[in-house]
Symmetry: C2
Subunit: 211 residues, 2 copies
């Protein structure tokens, strides 16, 4: 399999973590979001959305990080990223979606570029926007973690929730967002980042990361 | 079961369609997003995210429209909203996520309010922003539909893809976005809107819609 991604894409980072946790090999193909390679015809012919990640498999191309991870889960069920019964799975999916739908889409590169480019906002306004959605979203997650967390978001093994949380925390730190109000969020991310599956998926470890 | 929602919330609209398609009854509890009821303590005590929809079940509360629908699918598998094998399911999930992650989060009420409120953008800039994400997102979906569509997004029965598409088309029309470049998207939404499950879920049919 080939994973089309970008070292700093949070969505590609999620898929890298999931592949590593499950011990699945995939060749990485860098698509530079900074150079706009995701909008070039060679890539959009493959993925009309012009976004990363995309996973090329023997059956064809899969897009959307959460759809890719659900597919990997179905083909390689162990270790489970959606453990437990349907109710528990719904709670884990909801946590992941709170990150993937309510925080990340507002703060990714194409959106920030549109704010400062097409809408001519200042960098200070962009940073205010970025921090607002992180702090709004993390406040709700911090509250939910009081009921579900162990060493990870749900108990003592990593799930889809952690797979989505760690890239968002990485991104928030890169934008210098104050995370002091979210000790559980931070502690879980720090714990994840001691594990090889998360370390090896981190942006700095990717082939397209600047030296 | 009780569904906390708002007549114009696209995410609540998705869950209403899914409930109707599966023939599951749920009492509707309106939460007025315009009046800010979703941020009031009585609601955030129930759902710390302060968002709709939320589904109160005997086991407790479920949040996030796609997590709710996946749960309903597991408990009431027929008619299937994720039919087919794991590969087909991944394609349907990816289409739904392209709407739920890459279009809707940028264009919902709280985000538009933040643009014109905290960031002091003009209404014309807000409308430009709205149309941009619709047109970018729908262009990719229109292209994908050439390969998958029948009367619905995937073949000839409704799936999670249609459940997410119809509310987004409704919303785009409310904002007067030009959809002429997306004939397949429009034809599928129009077809869906001839079916009782979609008609009964539409904003105008809800108890909290203005008379």
């Amino acid at each position: 399999m080939k994973l089309y991604g970008y070292f700093r894409s949070s969505a590609a980072y999620r898929v890298r973590i999931a592949l590593n946790l499950k011990g699945i090999a995939a060749e990485q193909v860098p698509v530079s979001l900074i150079k706009g390679e995701q909008q070039q015809a060679t890539y959009t012919a493959l993925n009309p959305q012009g976004l990363v990640p995309a996973l090329a498999t023997e059956q064809g191309l899969l897009t959307q990080s959460l759809a890719i991870i659900e597919y990997l889960e179905s083909q390689h069920p162990t270790p489970a990223l959606l453990p437990g019964d349907a109710w528990q799975q719904a709670q884990i999916r909801a946590f992941a979606l709170a990150l993937a739908c309510d925080i990340h889409p507002l703060n990714n590169l194409r959106v920030l570029k549109y704010l400062t480019g097409d809408l001519a906002l200042e960098d200070t306004q962009k940073n205010q926007w970025y921090a607002h959605w992180i702090q709004t979203g993390f406040a709700a997650l911090e509250s939910q973690l009081t009921q579900t967390a162990g060493a990870f978001c749900f108990g003592d093994s990593p799930t889809l929730a952690d797979v989505c949380l760690v890239p968002q925390v990485y991104n928030a730190k890169r934008f210098n967002v104050d995370l002091s109000a979210f000790p559980k969020v931070q502690a879980i991310a720090e714990h994840c980042n001691t594990l090889p599956a998360f370390i090896d998926a981190s942006p700095e470890q990717q082939p397209d990361a600047p030296k």
